[in-house]
Subunit: 156 residues, 2 copies
């Protein structure tokens, strides 16, 4: 069945993007569960960032993952409760809280590697169509950097 929103075209693009993001996140959740791994997709950006850059402050993480710092703080709270990360004050700058993976966190990352690999394969198969979704996102983000949606409408 074709509904109005699928037909209304580009005006509903933000709704369409949202819906697709939601579906992928939910499937991600189920995939971790099916693989016996206690992990939430929303934790991925923080954990993956700390895996690549082992010691970062709260704001550094928020910039890496592109979230606001309050959002980052609430993710960090969950991860600390799960004992996947720990934090300590920066001796050189008392305002900063330095975050890193715990041993449990590092072990979990190692366990998730094969799942992540399969996810990459599945997602690549899913999105590698005539118009590649990842590339399309990158291209649109580049376009917006040049001239945002707001600015483009104003110029008409």
């Amino acid at each position: 069945m074709i509904n109005v929103i699928d037909e209304s075209g580009i005006l509903a693009i933000s709704t369409r993007l949202q819906r697709l993001a939601d579906q992928l996140r939910k499937d991600g959740q189920l995939i971790y569960k099916a693989n016996g791994i206690d992990f939430e997709p929303k934790w991925f950006p923080v954990i993956y960032t700390l895996y690549l850059k082992p010691v970062l402050s709260v704001v550094e993480i928020s910039m890496e993952i592109g979230y606001t710092h309050p959002s980052t703080i609430s993710l960090l709270k969950e991860l600390e409760k799960e004992k996947l990360i720990r934090s300590k004050k920066d001796k050189l700058d008392e305002r900063k809280r330095l975050i890193q993976l715990t041993e449990k966190g590092k072990t979990l990352v190692a366990e998730m590697q094969p799942v992540w690999q399969r996810m990459v394969v599945a997602l690549t198969a899913l999105t590698n169509t005539k118009n590649n979704l990842m590339k399309a996102i990158e291209e649109v983000e580049a376009q917006m950097k040049t001239l945002s949606f707001l600015e483009r409408e104003r110029q008409l």
Copy 2:
């Protein structure tokens, strides 16, 4: 500056989609405001649906816009408070509440037409890159219908 999430590739695709959806929605909000129109982007699916199909029940609307019925109900409450829609009981089926645009709603739709037209032009320019975002979304949705992300991972 390139951050970790932009580099982590396809595993963060749901985050990337979400972010793009948010940015477009926020710009949409500003565009309505800049054009002196008191309208929220989140109302678009309901209003546009009722513009195309003038009388629908709550569940019919929720199916058209692809939201759950509780989400739809809360949108309808806002729109009723704004006096953009009104509802009446279906005489033939007392369970149903039939929704339609008010005169104020119809007038607003007419006023928004030129803004929508400019939005379409701006969004088309923004997304009509080498890999077309709208087409990519449609292709991925079709792929998921065939075999979801969850099912694809399981088969590996």
